[in-house]
Amino acid sequence: MNAPVSPDALRRQPTDWKGDAMRKRIASRYASERRFRRIGLAAILMSAGFLAYLMISMLSGGLGGFTRTEIAVRVDFPKAPIVIDPASLRGEGAEAVLSSVNWQALTDQAATSALGKDGAWIAPGAWLVVRDAVKADPAILQKSVTLHLPASAELDVAAKSEGQPAAEAAYARLEKAGLTSRAINWDFLTSSDGTDPTQVGIWGAFKGSLLTMAVTLLLSFPVGVLAALYLEEYAPRNRWTDMIEVSINNLAAVPSIIFGLLGLAVFLNVLHLPRSAALVGGLTLALMTMPVIVIAGRNAIKAVPPSIRDAALGIGASPIQVVFHHVLPLALPGIMTGTIIGMARALGETAPLLMIGMRAFIASPPGGITDPATVLPVQIFLWSDEVSKGFVEKTSAAIIVLLLFLLSMNSIAIYLRNKFERRW
């Protein structure tokens, strides 16, 4: 104790709860509360605004990518320079017969005779439509039919937005003649990368993403969960486990391109795994995702009340029974949250995949995890780099596909998480 205080100083005045000072304090407290609420609301509105802007600009720019402009062209098969017996297309050797025909020349000729010099505005891949029409119904070989052939990228751009003057003029002519139409471009959903924007599709990259994510999930989820369980439930607390903990926390913050270099050095150069493959991409992304799952998993396991562990131990459950019957089920929702975050990040990752060669031009969808593949974000990156104006809306369309992929992946995960969530 210091010097004794006089008894007068110790005697306190009764608090004036109704005074002006107190009233002012209350008013300022309410004001700060209101201010805080408004700032929070503004933050929400701002982020919602950004999101809305993103969605609107993506949809307005990208939805066009799912459609294509078509030109009606009359193809007079009996006069065409081809000789096919329609009967031969119904048997075994149909494919061979079809591939022996020069469809390109036939299509060009038909377009020129029907449209004059505007016949040059059909897409380079338009002959595929002619071939498929014949394949679907060989009887048309004896007739003259009108086929809707895809327009070239330049004309497509002119039809949808601002194109080059020549293309705009041609489109105006064709539209006036009532030959143009808009149709859903199913090829965009079923084919892969290509050189001509009218022919490219997203399926190859989509399947590549699917396979890569499958590899990532199958590796990082069990390894991450088991690592988290071991570190929380079994590992002794000592300098080694401290070091491992710090390393894992740091690993979660390492820039993703470093993981790409690691994948390049280890999986390709040392283990000689196939280049550009979903397997290697998945392995690399699993390295990146695992620390996120470990950290989220450890927090979820820590949050399981110790009383549940006591209860299980108290009736003679072995440590492994405690973990798998009680701790893991209760921690699973938290672990799944971490997994969603990690997988969403992995799905959008581009940089590390560039390092392991997944930026290659892949014109056919991968058949398995060891085939050359690319993934959606890399495909978006590649298309955004293209010169041709037709790729602009393809890029936006690919972004829409990527976002839908992400949304459906997260929805499944959230559904599963809610299913496992226990009510207390």
Binding site: P236, R237, P305, S307, I308, R309, D310, A311, A312, L313, G314, I315, G316, A317, S318, Q321, H325, H326, L330, R422, R423, W424
Partner: protein, 256 residues
């Protein structure tokens, strides 16, 4: 005088340390099936710590170290030959805070028998669940909602569920660590009644803060103070005619 039955559990010269700190000093005590044994003492006196050495729950605390000998039916429970998992099934435990599993009432009771393989068929398990809930005095309240979550019950019901869960594996000893401290007086009365009914079938050790409760439910009482066992004897003697001054001061409310 008739030959006394050998004690179910006995502790000899037990010391417990948490790191450097000694929590229990040289405690020797016998527990038998015919009597309910109460551990009383002020907070921090080590009664709960000592209780937890009896089924080796202190093993889960990394810094805890136990010296001395504790036997169950003459077998040292800290010997290397003793299986901890089996020990904890034979020496069940009920905790201070009711801690049912977040599973159905049925699964709460059935969990122990399942993991120890006590029932092979569903019908056997049904019998175990019903008899355990009956003995825990809970059957009539929950028989129509066995599928409901155990955590949806009231606090007192939860605690009886936990007792039912402990007796479902047919233990030999039941340790209760302040089982009523989180309950209201009516729920407490029900638990005390239950303890009376379970006496004789299981050796029961109960830690309590409440001296009236110790006087009501137990036949033998041990008074702990500062990590030592001050006095151990029949409950009536401890409460009416304690030998030690410290015991007398505590039970008359001088400190605690």
């Amino acid at each position: 005088m008739s030959q006394p039955t050998p004690p179910k559990m006995s502790a000899r010269n037990v010391n417990v340390y948490y790191g450097e700190k000694q929590a229990i000093q040289n405690v020797s005590i016998d527990v038998d099936t015919d009597n309910v044994t109460a551990f009383i003492g002020p907070s921090g006196c080590g009664k709960s710590t000592f209780l937890r050495t009896l089924n080796r729950m202190n093993d889960t605390v990394a810094s805890a170290r136990v010296e001395g000998e504790i036997t169950l039916d003459g077998e040292n429970i800290y010997s290397s030959g003793m299986d901890v998992v089996q020990l904890r099934a034979r020496v069940g435990m009920v905790f201070q805070k009711p801690n049912p599993f977040p599973k159905s009432i049925y699964d709460n009771i059935a969990y122990g028998p399942r993991i120890h393989g006590l029932a092979s068929a569903k019908a056997d398990l049904d019998v175990i669940v019903e008899s355990s809930l009956r003995r825990a005095g809970l059957w009539d309240e929950v028989k129509d909602r066995l599928k409901d979550s155990g955590t949806a019950l009231s606090g007192g019901q939860q605690q009886r569920l936990c007792i039912g869960r402990a007796i479902a594996v047919e233990p030999e000893v039941i340790l209760m660590d302040e089982p009523c401290s989180a309950l209201d007086p009516i729920a407490t009365a029900k638990i005390e009644e239950l303890i009376h009914e379970l006496r004789g079938r299981y050796a029961i050790v109960i830690v309590t803060h409440n001296m009236q409760q110790a006087a009501r439910v137990s036949q033998r009482t041990a008074f702990f103070h500062l990590g030592t066992l001050v006095e151990y004897g029949s409950t009536s003697e401890i409460f009416t005619n304690p030998r030690e001054d410290r015991t007398k001061d505590y039970i008359t409310g001088r400190y605690g």
